[in-house]
């Protein structure tokens, strides 16, 4: 299956791109995706926190991804 990853804030700097696609095995979880990305981009591990949103909502741990999902990397937010 193919998902789209959106990288915001510092994660865009770390990944070097704002938007990219990944081919993943069916039923990959959001945690597994994070592990894959942390392996590929080790500085992601140094962040204060790193959450994942799937289709514009925060994902619960273990959330199972589906083909076509839009997955956003959410480093510590700092609005306001």
């Amino acid at each position: 299956m193919t998902i789209t990853v959106l990288a915001f804030g510092i994660t865009r700097d770390i990944c070097g791109q704002r938007r990219f696609t990944l081919d993943l095995p069916e039923k990959t979880s959001s945690d597994a995706l994070l592990a894959i990305l942390q392996e590929k981009y080790p500085p992601l591990r140094q962040l204060s926190s790193l959450l994942v949103a799937v289709n514009e909502s925060y994902a619960e741990p273990g959330h199972v991804l589906a083909d076509g999902d839009e997955v956003a990397l959410i480093p510590p937010v700092s609005g306001g």
Binding site: L6, G9, I10, I74, P76, V77, S78, G80
Partner: protein, 139 residues
């Protein structure tokens, strides 16, 4: 109740936001205005660069507004947040709420800005003369 929730890449108008929530049955109006400070820990800030995950940021702001309206008897509620490049002194966020009495307005306004800062996917980068840093990214 309708909420006025916006992300804008143009200057925010706190007077318009305030007027938006004033109504005859409201005896208390609270407005929070967040502005760009000119220094962080003694380092001069040249500018802030705000970035948002727009669709989700609007959804999260809507959730916070709904939560506030469920907790306090509010009459009207405005949340406007900037994106893009802001200079010191410029307004990054305006929150305005009205209620019959001040307690609800004060408490809801505080809740709205505190929760926005915790959950809404907006990020700011501080740019100094000698470098730049994404706020709160690292421990």
């Amino acid at each position: 109740m309708q909420f006025d929730i916006q992300l804008k890449d143009t200057p925010l108008d706190f007077e318009a936001c305030t007027r938006r929530v004033m109504q005859p049955d409201s005896g208390g109006i609270d407005v929070f205005i967040g502005t760009v400070r000119n220094a962080t820990r003694g380092r001069a800030v040249l500018r802030l660069e705000f970035e948002a995950y727009e669709g989700m940021a609007l959804r999260e702001m809507q959730k916070i507004a709904e939560s506030a309206a469920a907790q306090w008897p509010l009459h009207a509620l405005v949340v406007h947040h900037r994106t893009g490049v802001l200079l010191p002194g410029e307004i990054a966020v305006v929150i305005a709420v009205s209620a019959a009495h001040r307690d609800a307005a004060f408490t809801a306004c505080r809740y709205l800005i505190d929760t926005l800062k915790q959950t809404v996917p907006i990020w700011k980068k501080e740019v100094f003369e000698d470098g730049e840093v994404w706020v709160a990214a690292h421990p």
